[in-house]
Amino acid sequence: MTLRETSGAIVGPRTDLAQHEGGGPGSVIGPPLSTPRRRPRRSGWNARLEIALLVGPALVMFLGFVIFPVVMAAYYGFFRWQGYGPPTDFVGLQNYVTILTDPTFLEAVGNNAFIVVASIVLQGPVAVLLALLLGRRMRGQSIIRVLIFVPYVIAEVVVGTGFGLMLQTNGALNDLLESIGLGALTNDWIANPDIAIWTLMAILTWKYVGFAVILFLAGLQGVPEELYEAAALDGAGYWQTHWRITLPLLAPTLRIWAFLSIIGALQLFDLVYIIWGQYVASTAGTSTMATYMVANGRNAGNYGYGNAVAVVIFLISLVVALIYQRFVLRRDTAGAITEGKKSR
């Protein structure tokens, strides 16, 4: 019941809009179309008007707040500009030269690359194993799934603040280690440059592994029961079954998860910025391209430079995404065959 009520509340404004449009131009209710949809050329002016009215607002918002700023970043990136008045001090590629020769930035790129790889290596296997374990039907499965997903829902700020306090030198983790006799393991988890990036990886794994598990569980539901029955008849063992049946059929889900994970890791900002602050991050070896951008762009009042960094981040993400799609996701055309089987 609550579901319906809340959804009604969400839909509310929407319905008003529809009504409003319905009362607008007189031609909105088109002629009763007996032609099936998906036949081009039949759409007359009425249909075009409808299309414009329905897509227009979304398109304007999207172009104005997503595409336009990205394009402007490319433009501002060629200027030395403090952010006031129109940019006039054209410096050509100077910003880009500075960025690409700045050892701090290159170190950040290295950190991002490490985070990309380590996220997949750490979270992937753990999440697959957990999904296999929790994929069976058993009592309490939904509560287990919810609880594993909890960290994903908590705000980065909350996670950062909580872990920041817990991992201080005199924080709860070190205290816990002392009290169970592992005092030798205590460390300065945040500031020690040898450890800090692993601390970050642990927090990232904690926060995002639940997301991977949920995705994989969904992917597992698509594996047909009959295959397992057939494998059991043929005498396949537990690991053999999963290695030969589950993993290959889970591969499309795995590849898309990896893609999301890579893009997320390349853009990582919130957690690092909150836990390490803009200054400590570089000395602790956890700075990322995005924290570099904010520290050297906005915080330094150097907007032309910040925009140029944004462009570099975008290009790096784009190239990685394109390479990934070209060489990894392309195989999902093969996956489409299994998708077809699944839905049958």
Partner: protein, 298 residues
């Protein structure tokens, strides 16, 4: 994608939901004890930091200093009461609530309209339109933030919630549309034809049939937009500099630097700020999980 669509539209749409409905009526069998044991360990790891924050708020600073990992002895509610009685906190809750509700309403309204066109109209450029919105997934807010900040400033929206809401709607559109398009496609053509025969135009069809039928999908994208907005940090950090307009994430950070010596209070503030998102999530957990599944499979 079929996952969310079919489960919610009811048995006449496919065979899958029937099986699922039956599954829910019978009590599930108990699983292997080892599975429960592993699940217990994982859940303990997942919840320990959350528990640390929540329980820590019930301790005093001296307790925390003496024994950082200890249990409250005695339990103190002063920290929570102090936060709950501060107008600052409620102002930030209100701001977060306004931003998240408006973002959700805007993203759902605009996204549903656009998704409807992409899913059910045929016209030249439809593929391009879909690809354009899908490409939006490639532009996380991190990349656009610096120029976006300038756009917002030029529009005179600095220090106003509208300056957070409008970009958030725009950035929520790709996910919304990508989840809703396959969903709207699964509405059978027969329903559309029947309503056309009954003299319904396409907009009438949208208004009378598509809206009611798409409510499950709308809930999914709505929740994603709401939680995304509730937790968002980078955009408010750039746009909102005035403490009166702070949303909760900014408030948490400001509070934790302002009261950096008062750890217990910071923990209380932090745990209260994550409560709404957690409640919201636990109410709609099935939808969120279903929506993510759909997003990936689609």
């Amino acid at each position: 994608m079929t996952a969310i669509a079919t489960t919610d539209l009811g048995p006449e749409f496919s065979a899958a939901p029937r099986r699922r409905a039956r599954r829910q009526r019978e009590p599930l069998p108990w699983g292997n004890p080892i599975v429960y044991f592993v699940a217990l360990i994982v859940i303990a790891l997942m919840l320990a930091p959350v528990l640390y924050i929540v329980v820590g708020g019930f301790r005093s600073n001296s307790q925390i200093t003496v024994d950082p990992a200890g249990w409250p002895a005695p339990w103190k509610v002063e920290n929570y009461l102090a936060v709950l009685s501060s107008p600052q906190f409620w102002q930030q809750v209100l701001n977060s609530l306004i931003a998240a509700s408006a973002t959700t309403a805007g993203a759902v309204a605009l996204g549903l309209m656009a998704a409807y066109v992409i899913a059910r109209y045929s016209f030249r450029g439809r593929g391009v339109l879909y690809a354009l919105f899908a490409a939006g997934l490639m532009f996380p807010i991190t990349v656009a933030i610096t120029p976006l900040y300038i756009v917002i400033r030029d529009l005179g929206l600095m220090n106003s919630l509208a300056g957070v809401i409008l970009p958030q709607i725009a950035f929520a559109l790709p996910t919304t549309i990508i989840i809703l398009v396959p969903f709207l496609r699964t509405i059978p053509d027969e329903i559309q034809e029947a309503s056309f025969i009954d003299g319904c135009g396409r907009l009438g069809f949208f208004w009378r049939m598509v809206l009611p039928l798409s409510i499950p999908g709308v809930i999914t994208v709505g929740i994603l937009a709401f939680i995304g907005s509730w937790n968002s940090y980078l955009l408010p950090l750039f746009v909102l500099n005035n403490e009166a307009t702070f949303t909760l994430p900014l408030g948490v950070q400001a509070f934790s630097s302002q009261y950096s010596v008062d750890t217990a209070k910071v923990l209380a503030f932090t745990s209260l700020s994550m409560l709404p998102a957690l409640v919201f999530f636990s109410l709609f957990e099935r939808r969120i999980v279903g929506g993510l599944t759909g997003a990936v499979k689609g």
